[in-house]
Symmetry: C2
Subunit: 136 residues, 2 copies
DNA sequence: ATATATATATGTAAAATGCACATAGGTTAT
DNA sequence: ATAACCTATGTGCATTTTACATATATATAT
């Protein structure tokens, strides 16, 4: 029943488990919004800011595509900035909807952090009481 | 007032922003492993336990497919249990590789929690000092 | 017999992600 | 001037993840 696959994929204790990451999906969006809430910016610069949040070697394509998508959703706005030397920049501004989105996300994060605490409590061997599962 | 732009996608502060969730990807995998580390179990039962971790109205398909995938990766093993009334159950057991995976994931989660703390510090208006970005 | 609860699984599509490649303006070195 | 390089923005494509609907099967209750 269970011996057809010799699990050649993961047998050593020190195996690397490619792709194992606890980072949430769409993490890039709130990071961008948070940056833009402080000051207007553009893709190339936002890439560096995003790196500080754990996006190492961020791929430009992913960032720029995300920005366009965010604009379509109305949480940021953009306009070309050509009044200087060098290639034109698409400057982004956070909208009111963007601020709301950020607030919404932050709330979700807070809730999720409780869940993570529960996870850790179980992981480290202190099981939850039946009645307080994962809270609210 | 500033009512010139109705931004039809997200106008109210209380807008719902469907899909906004701070949940990490593949969250289901560590939750299953943690459950199986406590006692062997099967899909139908694991669904309920997963619900306690914030998977409301979990779709069976997602869970069962995840379990088969996990078995292919060698982090769980299964065998049919037919020695009782009712439909047969596929009982799952965590493997050594599964335990390693769980440890690996927990480490990643811990690291991610620090990043989240940094995010919150910025969000609530206490910016980081230049020298301590997101690192440790 | 048929409805219900248990139990597992597939098919398909949408969304997210990663990686490679394309385009273009401007600056500096040769 | 032209090649090389840095800045800056983007598209294409394949893979992975996730969601949603549907299918199958066993046993029990009515």
């Amino acid at each position: 029943m269970n011996n057809e696959e010799p699990e050649r994929e993961a047998r050593g204790k020190e195996r690397e488990f490619r792709g194992v990451e606890a980072r949430p999906r769409n993490w890039l969006v709130p990071v961008i919004l948070l940056s833009l809430r402080e000051w207007n910016s553009y893709g190339y610069e936002l890439m560096e800011r995003a790196s500080a949040f754990g996006f190492e070697a961020m791929n430009p394509g992913t960032l720029y595509r995300t920005l366009r998508q965010m604009e379509k959703e109305g949480i940021v706005e953009s306009s070309w900035e050509t009044s200087r030397g060098g290639p034109a920049r698409r400057m982004y501004t956070i909208t009111d909807a963007g601020r709301s989105y950020l607030d919404f996300w932050a709330q979700s994060l807070e809730q999720y952090q409780h869940t993570m605490d529960n996870f850790f409590r179980l992981y480290t061997g202190r099981p939850l009481k039946d009645k307080e599962e994962s809270g609210e």
